[in-house]
Each structure stands twice: as structure tokens, then as C-alpha cells.
Symmetry: C2
Subunit: 342 residues, 2 copies
């Protein structure tokens, strides 16, 4: 690897979004006097009577959660998207808006209030994966749903308001900004090369072996060359699959194993329950072909230097370009250190 | 205004970036059990011996700050961009990177450790504006600098590591992501209409008068139709000016007045020193014509419902589209309530 990338300010291109990230490897050692995040080392109880996600408890709208044993999915009581929003379009000079319909769901990963994905076995996580597949399929089949975004906000610092292990699914009529960018980039590549952008990228990364942190028969975990967040990582299927429905049963378990390996390693970096937002980007559920899509799951963790010091995406990042200090190569090395050899 | 925009989930188009924001006006009342930010009501001292920005103090690299009386600018001791980075380009298959040179500066707004822009008079703020003009001019004149980003991170929650009133200036060889988007959108409009996009937008907003929060002879403050952050606002010159050097002396004072009015109003919303990131977007300092640029200053404040509850731009926002609950119209009304009539 070009050693200049480890020493000097530079920018790297994100082939999936067509945007840049600014890298400042020389700056990793600046002192920190700013805000520290709170962390709790207290082990949570397995059931909490005030938790609206625990089995048997009553939610704010009066509904009672069933006595679920593994995964439980329900429609978000405070959904950001409405399924019955009337259709409208505003095209008034420079004021442009349109209605957006959708369905938002919450998915509890486990009835055990004390757990996170990092504490669950691959077999348990496989049940979450199967629930994601079901939701992608049934939501995506609705005529007014053209994209299904599966994601998790983990940790208070990531805006998560309840530590009970859970994720969300927001499905909607049009393609969100980030999905549109990846749609364009992947389509352009597919048209030119007749193969998937991420498949070719994986071939190159596996050969270089500088940012790979783990692989099994079906999946690779790596820190993408253009990573933004300090310990950002991506789980990518080796096969060119456009969505998570294309996995067979063995592959769902191998995928669950990859999630398990990565989240366990994360928790070891700073010896804390590692906060992150994760999400799956995959083919829209519109009527288009979408063969150019190669699905993948990304993790955006904010912690930078300790369990309490995070990276802030603020001034320059909001007005300019995301900026990072440690390089993708160093971050990959660090994460890899916490993955048991097998 | 289309009343549906106040009741139903919809998306709005940002004419400056070409991207969307998801608006969920029906969701403003969901309960909050998540992380609360700390706020300090303690009045700070006017001088702090441990502050590396106070006059006369020694910085980490051994330099001693002069005994400055108003504004003080120096080169960032931990700059993210290096001016002597060697030139290099990596074009290795799907790994694309290039060197990025730049100069990063810190600008102290006042020697008084206890103040923020909201506590300063328009005349004092005018000195900050003049320093911004000087920096834009001298940095921009350098052959290897093609863009000058002026910004401020205010408050610990915005990654600001020192409460001494200060901002930053990062100048660099290429155009950052956000600037590129605005460059394209403004250029396309200018080519079609032979006038500035923001000038036409201002005409429309002034006529509607639904999102205007303040105006003086030379400037308008408004909540843009496509605002992302809860109380986001924009200060725009009425004249089509491509950069801050085009202001005359009267206008710099009127601009300082607008900054004063907005920051004072912000502090009143939740009776706290209101955190935000602000930034000026203006014409690049490359050799292009750039007449299509209409400079403006934006404020992105994270507080949502109180001095301690902020909006998190996380999971859905990172993987999909920024999302907001209160509409731009309601936010404008709230801010306007805190601006004295004159
Ligand atoms: O340079 P500072 O003030 O130490 O750092 C702050 O602003 C920078 C520019 O927005 C960010 O990159 C940092 O994450 C933030 O903590
Ligand atoms: O829906 P929740 O978990 O209450 O809310 C959290 O995730 C949402 C989706 O990323 C964000 O819009 C909210 O700001 C965040 O607090």
C-alpha cells in the first residue's frame, strides 16, 4: 500500500456513493478536552417492568406485547411514515415537496432485556435474519412500498432510547438519498462491466488483504477503503446477491456468524458495549430489474479513542466532507486483533 | 401553505444540494426516554488560565498567544490538512485516492472567555466578519487553495472542545462534497435563468412570509423550506453576492447584526447557550467565474425539545435520508417569537 496514505492528508473516493472522505492520518494524536460520553458498566436485568419492549409489558398505545420467545416484530407506535397519508405534490416555484407513504416497524432481537447482538449466538441471530427476510419480502410486496430500510441504532449515544436489543425497519414509496446514490453508482458499473461493483471490489480487497478483518465460506467483513466512521466495517456476501432473500439457509447462518464475530470484536476494542448504527443496503422493491445491486450491511460506530471519546461529525463535516484521523488500514488491524483465530 | 405539509409524512427538496429531507409533522409528540445532554448554567470566568485560547496563555506547541483585544487568528496546532503534503494520486482499480493540501486556522472571536457571539454587540461581531473576509482573501489567493470553509462548532454536544468563543477555517485544494453539490445546483439554475437561485428563492419566500424570521436592509434570516435540523436557519444577503468580499462596510455591520439577532434568539428558545454548527458557503477561490454563487450562512442546531434533548441523525438518517419532526414553518414561528420587534 502506498505509504503516503498513512502519513499525509488526502481524500479517498467512495465507489458506492460517488462521494469523498477526507483522511488526516497525521492528526491521530491530538489531545481531547471535549465532551465525554457516559458509559454504563452495570449489567442490565433480563426483564425490566418499565421497558415497553419486554415480553408481556404494555406499550404506550395500550397494546400488550406477547410472551415472545425469540424475535418479535410490531408496527412502530410513533412511526415517521404514515401508510394512509394522502397523495400530494407541491411544485410551487422553488418550493418542491411530495407526500411520502410508508410503514415503520420495530424488531426486538430477543426477549432478554440484558442482551445485545454481541451476546447472542449465531443461531439466535439467524432468527433475526429470518425476520428481516420476512419483513423485506412482505413489506416489499406492497404496491406502495419501493424500498425497505433495515437498521439498528445501538447505544444512547446513537439516539437509541431503550437498551432492550432491537432494530427498526422503515419502508417507503421512494428511494432515500443514500440508496439513490448507491443505485446510480452500481448501475453505471454494471452497465459498463456486466458484473457487480462490490464483487470486483471484493476480489481486489481479498488479494491486497490490508483491510479484511474476517471471512467465512459466504461472507467477508472488511473496513472499506473509504470508511468514514473510526471503526466502520462492512459485511458483504461473496456471491453477487441483490437482496437478503437470495441467501439459502446455510448462508443465513454464515451471515449471522459474521454479525456475531464483528459485534463481539467491537465490544472488546474499548471494553464496552460498542455503540453503532448499522443498516442493510439492498435492491429496491420497485418493479425494476435491480440486478446491479449487491447487498451489504454497514456498521457506523462513533467511538474514536476510548469508551467515552467519540468522533463528532460536525462543522467541517456538515459543510464540507466527512473527515477521519485513523486510516482504514489501522482500524482494520485493530478490529482484527479482537477476532479469535479459527 | 398547503396544509397537508403540516399533517402528513412527506419529503421536501433542497434546491441547493439536490437532495431530500423526510418530514414527519405528525410525530412531534413522541415521548423521549433516551440520552440527555448535560448543560451548564454556570457563568464562565472572563479569563481561564488553562484555556489555550485566552490571551497571554501558552499553547500546546509552546507558542504564546498575544495579548489580543478583539479577534485573534492562528494556524491550527492540530490541522487536519497539511500544506506541505506531497502530491500523489492513487488509481488502483477500485481504490481511488489523492493528496489534499490545505491550511487550517482557528479564529478567536473575543479575548473574553465567558462570551459567545450571542453576548457580543454587532460592532464586535463586525470585527469577526472582517477577519473572515481577510482570511477568505489571503487564503483564497494562494495557488493551491481553491476553497475556504469558514465554520463554528459551538457547544460540547457539537464536538467543541473549548468553550472560549472561537471558530475555524479549513482551506483546501479541492471542493468539499457539500460545496460541489451547491456548485452544480446553482450553476444549472444560473445557466437556465441567468439569475441566482437564492435571489429567486428569497423573492418567493419574502412574498409568502411563512418562514422569514428577520430582515434588515441587506439581509434576510429564514428557515429554509428544506431545513434538516430542528431550528436550522439561514442568513442570506438580499443582493446577489458571490462571496463575503462583495459586502461594503455598511453591509458587514448589517450582517453582524443578523448574526447577533439570530444567536440571541436561539439562546432564548430553551433558555440555554444554544449549541450549533454554523458555516458560510460561498464561491470557490479557483480560477473559475463563479458568478452563479450566492453566498449564505447556515446554522445547524441539534436541540429538539429542550436544553437536554437533541435530534439524533443516526440509523435511518445515515442509511436513508435526514428526517425531521417539527416543520420548517413551526420552527420559524418559534424562533421569530424570540426576536424583539424593531
Ligand atoms: O478541530 P476541533 O475543534 O478539535 O474538532 C472538532 O471540529 C472538527 C471539524 O468540524 C471535527 O473534525 C472534530 O471531530 C470536532 O471534534
Ligand atoms: O425511532 P427512535 O428509536 O425513537 O429514534 C431514533 O432513530 C430514528 C431513526 O434513525 C431517528 O430519527 C431518531 O432521531 C432517533 O432518536
Amino acid at each position: 500500500m502506498n505509504s503516503q496514505l498513512q502519513d499525509y492528508s488526502h481524500k479517498r473516493f467512495n465507489i458506492l456513493t460517488g462521494e469523498w472522505v477526507l483522511v488526516s492520518p497525521h492528526r491521530a494524536k491530538r489531545p481531547w478536552q471535549g465532551q465525554n460520553e457516559e458509559t454504563s458498566k452495570k449489567k442490565r436485568e433480563t426483564y425490566n417492568e418499565n421497558c415497553y419492549l419486554c415480553a408481556g409489558n404494555t406499550r404506550i398505545n395500550g397494546e400488550i406485547n406477547p410472551d415472545y420467545k425469540d424475535v418479535f416484530v410490531f408496527t412502530n407506535d410513533f412511526a415517521a411514515l404514515q401508510k394512509d397519508a394522502p397523495d400530494f405534490k407541491l411544485n410551487d416555484g422553488l418550493l418542491i415537496a411530495e407526500s411520502e407513504k410508508g410503514i415503520c416497524k420495530v424488531i426486538c432481537f430477543s426477549p432478554d432485556h440484558s442482551k445485545s447482538l454481541a451476546d447472542m449466538t449465531p443461531k439466535e441471530i439467524k432468527k433475526v435474519v429470518i425476520a428481516w427476510q420476512n419483513e423485506y419480502k412482505t413489506l416489499g410486496a406492497k404496491a406502495f412500498i419501493n424500498y425497505v430500510q433495515i437498521f439498528e441504532n445501538k447505544g444512547a449515544v446513537m439516539g437509541c432510547s431503550n437498551p432492550h436489543p432491537h432494530g427498526q425497519i422503515w419502508s417507503q414509496s421512494t428511494l432515500p438519498n443514500e440508496v439513490l446514490k448507491k443505485d446510480t453508482q452500481q448501475l453505471n458499473y454494471f452497465r459498463k462491466k456486466n458484473t457487480s461493483l462490490l464483487k470486483d471490489y471484493l476480489i481486489q480487497e481479498l488479494e491486497k488483504n490490508e483491510r479484511i478483518i474476517y471471512k467465512n465460506k459466504a461472507f467477508v467483513i472488511l473496513v472499506p477503503f473509504w470508511a468514514i466512521w473510526p471503526f466502520e466495517a462492512m459485511i458483504v456476501p461473496k456471491k453477487h446477491q441483490k437482496n437478503i432473500l437470495e441467501m439459502n439457509s446455510d448462508e443465513t447462518l454464515l451471515y449471522a456468524e459474521a454479525i456475531s464475530v464483528l459485534t463481539k470484536a467491537y465490544d472488546k476494542i474499548f471494553n464496552t458495549s460498542f455503540p453503532y448504527s448499522s443498516g442493510i443496503h439492498q435492491a429496491p422493491t420497485n418493479n425494476k430489474d435491480n440486478t446491479h445491486w449487491h447487498w451489504h450491511m454497514s456498521f457506523y460506530p462513533p467511538l474514536l479513542r476510548s469508551a467515552t471519546v467519540k468522533k463528532f461529525m460536525v462543522g467541517y463535516e456538515m459543510f464540507g466532507t466527512p473527515q477521519r484521523d485513523i486510516t482504514a488500514e489501522k482500524a482494520a488491524k485493530t478490529i482484527k486483533n479482537f477476532i479469535p483465530l479459527h
